[in-house]
């Protein structure tokens, strides 16, 4: 006969003991930096000098800071340029590689490769390709179009960075769509086909509604990532943020303002708070739009 197991009475704080490691990590690396940033945003703290409470002065200053508006404009444009592409293109790609035909695994892996590649390496390769004397410009010159200032024109630079973001993100969102597509019942497609629906009609009337919630998820994830873009623009436009800083994004501005020995930590914190508020607002907006559509 097995020995009976004696169960002790659960102590009231036992759940907290289990949660403590996670809470500690979250407290130290999420909660504390967040609270610290919030507090700093109301001070004139510098990297090496303690700050004084300055009320809303930092927030007032950023309203009159041209570079803040440039950053906000570019981050917003980034969302407008990148999000539609990252919602639609990976879905089409997923439909393409969903079929089980010989060699398809190679294509799936190939499309996913940019996701795992280092952004620095990817950025540098694109800089070489798009350089005034790079491969792309040499080809354009050969076909008679002439050289294009991908890396010297303010708008082309931003577009080039967007293209890199889209190219790098395609594989990631494709995998998410592949998982969603696997759950779409085959019978729905067959029934639609029997009813005479062509491939486009089946895509719009069967596939899209079936993966709608995944599209919302992709839109939310990619819009937050796009608003917080840093690496692509930093690598392609340089630390100064493109010609005259016109390609600076909000996160680049935070980095440039708040780092280094003379960094304005207080002002950079105020900028970070704005980025946080806009990011949360974006998430809420996307989720709300989704809920409204559902109802």
């Amino acid at each position: 006969m097995a020995t009976p197991v004696r169960i002790r009475r659960q102590l009231p704080f036992s759940p907290w003991l289990f949660a403590a490691p996670g809470l500690l990590v979250t407290g130290a690396f999420v909660l504390y930096p967040f609270v610290s940033t919030l507090v700093n945003s109301f001070t004139d703290r510098r990297t090496l000098l303690p700050g004084h409470f300055v009320d809303l002065a930092n927030f007032r200053e950023l309203l009159h800071d041209d570079m803040f508006w440039t950053g906000l404009r570019n981050s917003t444009l980034y969302i407008l340029g990148v999000v539609p592409a990252l919602v639609i293109l990976p879905l089409l790609l997923a439909l393409l590689v969903q079929k089980n035909i010989p060699g398809i695994t190679f294509f799936r892996s190939a499309f996913y490769t940019p996701v795992v590649a280092s952004i620095v390496v990817v950025g540098l390769i694109w800089v070489w390709l798009l350089d005034e004397r790079g491969l792309v410009n040499s080809l354009l010159e050969t076909v008679g179009i002439g050289r294009v200032g991908f890396l010297s024109d303010q708008w082309l630079l931003l577009l080039s960075a967007m293209a890199v973001t889209v190219w790098k993100g395609l594989g990631y969102y494709m995998i998410i769509y592949l998982a969603a597509l696997a759950n779409v019942p085959r019978e729905l497609h067959e029934a639609a086909a029997v009813d005479g629906a062509g491939p486009v009609r089946r895509f719009l009337s069967v596939t899209v509604p079936a993966v709608r919630s995944t599209m919302v998820l992709v839109a939310a994830l990619s819009s937050v990532a796009a608003f917080k873009v840093f690496s692509e623009v930093y690598l392609m436009a340089g630390p100064s943020g493109g010609p005259a800083g016109e390609d600076t994004t909000l996160v680049m501005l935070v980095q440039r303002t708040g780092t280094g020995l003379t960094g304005r930590v207080g002002y950079a914190s105020a900028l970070s708070v704005v980025v946080f508020v806009v990011t949360v607002a974006l998430m809420l907006l996307v989720l709300r739009a989704d809920r409204r559509d559902e109802s």
Binding site: L48, G149, S240, G260, L261
Partner: protein
């Protein structure tokens, strides 16, 4: 037992508040008196030197520890990229090493935060060992004192591509010597190459304004003043070059690395550099190396620009005598000279530049560049003001770019840059 929200909030505050004490700096630190016994463990931080000079520093440290028994030096090296950020993190966290490799613009904020030892007080007796200008390079306007030992100096010639000069109909043996000649040659190069070869790859920086003879700051060192007539004239000329593609179209976003690469590929005809670059040309661009021309930096003031490295002593070190002794040891005439023989740098110690190593020709290009640089260093100036921070550099660069693109007049752009720099200066 249910836990109330208030209790939860209290727990969160209890968790967060102690953490908020972090990063508020050190413990108030050590003593400024360097006269005691030289002993104890100290840390020495260099700036991207381990990869190429490990054996030199290992030997240097061993010599010091032998000279001062009871001392131990721990050497750490940081990569070039992000060095100011590393220093600020260490300074904020109270973990700044005892002896730190710095440049004048890095030492200024550290001195203002009280983290750099005043060497006029702690080590003033060593001052006569160094060139006057080099010793003064780590003084901060608005503060009395000197905050780092001068270490190595560097300057470099202007390299040019003789083949491109020849193709543009410019005599490759008569490179430009004045700004007027430079601008004329650059315009001719752009015209003859159909805009495909630029002569310059970078927009003017604060040191270019200084070399052109622009007054960078007022006499009291309390405000910037590079928006004078000369400053506007230089920027107007650069605008003309930019429009003619004599200044590379990608100059607005160029970095020293990217412009160096453009020079290697023949997209740009001139580029500043140092004796170190010759090796690079030899290995990576043999055709360019065969056509390389070397000329002096162009300056309207008669003084070329020099870069100064320094060695700072952390004011909060617990072993001030050892830290000061080691910083002096690293920068003394003998050790600077032996470092200079390993790499193309120049000692900041008085009389060292008269050593035959810096005066005697041996027929090689490397020696020719070294001798010319050493000669020009005797009257060289570090044009970058100590108080000109990274944020100010960005502000100037952006305004210069606006002027070159025609979005602002050169005068307006420089006025804006000066106002932005002065605003940052006042904010401390």
């Amino acid at each position: 037992m249910p836990i109330s929200r208030r209790a939860l909030a209290a727990a969160a505050v209890a968790l967060v508040l102690p953490l908020s004490a972090c990063g508020s700096g050190g413990d108030g630190g050590g003593s400024a008196d360097a006269s005691g016994k030289v002993e104890g463990d100290i840390t020495f931080q260099t700036w991207n030197l381990r990869a190429n000079f490990k054996s030199y520093f290992d030997g240097l440290i061993a010599d010091f520890e032998k000279k001062y028994p009871g001392t131990h030096v721990k050497w750490i090296d940081q990569p070039a990229e992000g060095y100011p950020d590393k220093l600020s993190a260490d300074a904020g966290g109270g973990t700044l090493p005892d002896v730190v490799n710095v440049s004048p613009d890095l030492v200024a904020p550290l001195a203002r935060a009280g983290l750099a030892l005043d060497l006029d007080k702690a080590a003033g007796k060593y001052k006569p060992e160094y060139l006057d200008g080099a010793w003064a390079s780590h003084q901060v306007p608005g503060m009395s004192g000197t905050y780092a030992f001068p270490w190595y100096l560097n300057t470099g010639p202007l390299f040019y591509n003789k083949a491109l000069f020849r193709k543009a109909g410019i005599d490759p043996d008569q490179p430009p010597k004045t700004y007027d000649e430079l601008f004329a040659d650059a315009l001719q190069m752009a015209r003859k190459s159909g805009g495909k070869v630029a002569t310059l790859a970078n927009v003017p920086t604060i040191e270019d304004f200084g070399r052109y003879g622009v007054t960078l700051m007022n006499k009291q060192g309390t405000a910037f003043a590079f928006n004078d007539t000369k400053g506007v004239a230089l920027l107007t000329k650069y605008k003309e070059l930019y429009d003619a593609k004599a200044l590379d179209p990608q100059a607005l976003t160029a970095t020293p690395e990217s412009s160096g690469k453009k020079f290697l590929t023949g997209a740009v005809a001139m580029n500043p550099g140092s004796a170190l670059d010759l090796d690079n040309f030899k290995k990576n661009a043999p055709t360019l190396y065969r056509n390389i021309g070397i000329t002096d930096q162009i300056t309207s003031t008669g003084h070329v620009n020099m870069y100064v490295m320094g060695v700072m002593v952390n004011s909060r070190t617990k072993h001030t005598p050892a830290a000061v002794a080691f910083a002096h040891f690293v920068t003394d005439a003998q050790n600077q000279m032996s470092f200079a023989k390993k790499v193309a740098i120049f000692p900041s110690t008085a009389g060292s530049l008269n050593d035959p190593y810096f005066t005697k020709e041996d027929g090689t290009d490397e020696t020719r560049v070294r001798i010319a640089a050493a000669k020009s260093l005797k009257g060289a100036v570090n044009y970058t003001p100590v108080l000109f921070s990274d944020q100010m550099k960005t502000a100037l660069r952006n305004e210069v770019a606006k002027a070159l693109q025609g979005k602002e007049s050169p005068k307006q752009a420089l006025d804006n840059a000066v106002n932005a720099a002065n605003r940052l200066l006042q904010q401390g």
